[in-house]
């Protein structure tokens, strides 16, 4: 039972363009959502989060959008840079438990 799904295993974009990574979830109890970035041979690093009381959170080139009715969130990176090439995981939690459920990850490649 995959509660958090990233249906696109990979994405390739040109430098300077927008990267859009998508994530769907099934558990309506989730109230906190996060994106993590992972380089090879390193642990994931926190990128950006959003609480269910918001529908948008922006931090520099990164913006996360949350559509609660569709149980869908997305991460927008603009402009994309070659250094953004990594695996991106979305995660969701019910703050009552503190446990994060991760998606399968999307590998982003930004071409110079």
């Amino acid at each position: 039972d995959q509660q958090v799904k990233q249906n696109s295993p990979s994405l390739s974009v040109q430098e300077g363009r927008i990267s859009i990574l998508n994530c769907d979830y099934t558990n309506s109890m989730f109230d906190y959502f996060l994106w993590y970035k992972k380089y090879p041979a390193e642990g994931p690093t926190f990128l950006i989060s959003i609480s269910s009381i918001k529908d948008k959170n922006e931090d520099g080139r990164f913006t996360v959008f949350l559509n609660k009715s569709a149980k869908h969130l997305s991460l927008h990176i603009v402009p994309s840079q070659p250094g953004d090439s990594a695996v991106y995981f979305c995660a969701a939690s019910d703050r009552g438990t503190g446990k994060l459920i991760f998606g399968q990850g999307t590998t982003l490649q930004v071409k110079p």
Binding site: S49, G98, K99
Partner: protein
């Protein structure tokens, strides 16, 4: 150091042997998590410690897996009688609340 550390960074073992993986969380973080990432898969939750509460063991795949956290700090994940399907990167994370901070992981290879 300031971050989460894990040891060893790599472990190669033979099928049937026991292994212990160590995690040193960030000082002061009350929550500690173990995940694993198998080849081509996402991050799979294993176990979660929060303060002095009973751990959430709901993600442990079998009774060969166990973990403890001593003194609310260091944690050890033990896998008994390892199998080839246990080969994965085992990640530890700690959290004060909200986002989790991950260690670099231990790559376990079971031959």
């Amino acid at each position: 150091g300031a971050g989460v550390s894990q040891s060893p960074s790599n472990k190669v073992t033979e099928k049937g042997k026991d292994v212990e993986l160590r995690c040193d969380p960030i000082s002061g973080h009350t929550a500690l998590y173990w995940y694993r990432q198998s080849l081509g898969q996402g991050l799979e939750f294993l176990i979660y410690f929060q303060g002095n509460s009973a751990p959430d063991k709901s993600g442990l795949p079998s009774d060969r897996f166990s973990a403890e956290r001593t003194g609310g700090s260091v944690s050890t994940l033990t896998i008994q009688r390892t199998q080839q399907e246990d080969s994965a990167v085992y990640l530890c994370a700690s959290s004060p609340r909200g986002e989790q901070f991950f260690g670099p992981g231990t790559r376990l290879t079971v031959l």
